[in-house]
């Protein structure tokens, strides 16, 4: 297998575009008085998280790259680098992204890494750059293994993954309402992704798509934006700090504190790591399913209120 194939690091080359687009969005909001909100510390935290994500890629990228090249060495398949192979790789990698993203919301070990992307109470182009520093430790690189074993070169797989991330940058905005109907039907858009960032009960665990919203429609996780219910951005329990270190690691700290609690069974420890966010051995916390059930009960007036919350 040839290992000399190379593709540009498109995410790094897109940095000037990111900065220019953020400035344009900010000027538009200041000038027009609509299209979203900015707050200094929130924006700076998001940008530092983005810079840290690039730095962690430079420092830890060799781990995923080594894994991919090991797979490339054993696969007998090589699809080459023609344009249709790159296109097919892009589409299949987007399917890969959908599942990694879904795991990122449904498995606490992966959520511990992804949570920081949802930790802003704002939704603007800086939020797009609020990316993880700890993605390597989720081991989600294994989800890319099938692509490489099918004969897509690792450099190509990372290249299309970069294009996927760049596509997702522009959808983190309130400055765009809805795109034309056909576009909204097939592609991920600002409207669809606003739903994904909403902490409203009805918007939790929805719209995991990267580029093509069709995956959500296919796998039953699509929720359209309801004009009557504006997304409330952030986490179910919002952070009380702008410190990037705490933003990056707070859920890992909470996870390991739970894992190391005395008196738990092995199954309970595994559930704290691999169960859904909000799972607890004594039922003192709420998963997204329970949050939705209670929200529905409040809306319909069917009272089902918890007893006094136990202390941590």
């Amino acid at each position: 297998m040839s290992a000399t194939v190379s593709f540009p690091d498109v995410v790094q080359w897109a940095v000037p575009l990111f900065i220019a687009a953020i400035l344009a969005e900010l000027v538009w909001i200041l000038w027009s008085g609509r299209g979203g909100r900015y707050e200094t510390r929130d924006a700076v935290t998001s940008l530092i998280m983005g810079a840290g994500n690039v730095a962690s890629g430079i420092l830890l990228g060799f781990i995923a790259w080594g894994f991919f090249m090991a797979l490339w060495a054993v696969t007998p398949l090589d699809l080459g680098t023609s344009w249709w192979v790159i296109l097919l790789c892009f589409v299949l990698d987007d399917l890969r992204y959908y599942w990694v993203h879904r795991f990122g919301h449904r498995i606490r070990w992966v959520w511990a890494s992804h949570v920081n992307h949802h930790s802003s109470q704002h939704y603007n182009l800086t939020t797009a750059l609020r990316q993880t520093w700890t993605g390597t430790f989720t081991f989600m690189m294994v989800v890319r293994a099938p692509l490489i074993l099918m004969g897509f070169h690792p450099a190509m797989v990372l290249f299309v993954g970069g294009l996927n991330l760049i596509y997702q940058f522009w959808i983190h905005t309130e400055a765009i309402g809805r795109m034309p109907r056909l576009f909204e039907a097939v592609m991920n858009t600002p409207s669809h992704h606003r739903v994904h960032h909403g902490r409203n009960a009805r918007y939790l665990d929805a719209n995991y798509a990267g580029v093509f919203i069709v995956w959500d429609k296919l796998f039953g996780t699509f929720v359209p934006e309801d004009d009557a219910e504006k997304p409330d951005y952030g986490l179910v329990q919002n952070l009380g700090t702008f410190n990037p270190i705490r933003v990056a690691f707070h859920e890992w700290v909470a996870l390991f504190r739970d894992l190391l609690r005395p008196g738990l069974t092995l199954r309970q420890r595994l559930m704290y790591a691999l169960g859904p966010p909000g799972w607890s051995h004594d039922g003192s916390r709420l998963t997204s399913a329970e949050i939705k059930r209670r929200a529905l009960a409040r809306e319909t007036g069917a009272g089902n209120r918890p007893a006094r919350m136990p202390a941590e």
Partner: protein, 130 residues
């Protein structure tokens, strides 16, 4: 892209955007000048609660909320809000400031300028917490 250019772009970009937002007045913190604002902030985090009383503090960026499922504080997180119950928190008085430490790595500390009466009200809930 050469690393030195990437670093210059990132540092310059962050500094420029920070300066622009600050000059444009986007660094202002939320204030709780009415009980309804504090109640709304609390119910964002604890929608199952029934709020029984709201005490606006002399520090306009925070309020004490009493609810049937437990009392706590709601405070400004930049232009937005965050809330935590007082259960499990520790407090220390430093001059006219009350320093609260929550058992939460994502919301570790809150410093409030409060009067003696306000500090007493907050501390009394710490003692009541289970």
């Amino acid at each position: 892209m050469p690393l030195e250019i990437l670093i210059a772009l990132v540092v310059g970009g962050i500094a420029g955007i920070a300066a622009l937002t600050h000059v444009a007045g986007l660094s202002r913190r939320r204030t709780f000048d009415a009980a309804d604002k504090a109640r709304t902030g609390w119910l964002r985090e604890f929608p199952d609660d029934r709020v029984t009383s709201v005490t606006l503090l002399s520090d306009p960026h925070a309020a004490l909320v009493e609810a049937d499922l437990g009392a706590g504080l709601v405070w400004a997180m930049g232009a937005d809000t965050v809330a935590r119950r007082l259960a499990g928190a520790r407090a220390a008085r430093r001059g006219d400031r009350l320093i609260l430490r929550f058992p939460d790595w994502g919301a570790p500390r809150l410093a409030l300028r409060v009067t003696e009466a306000e500090a007493h009200a907050i501390l009394s809930h710490l003692k009541e917490a289970p």
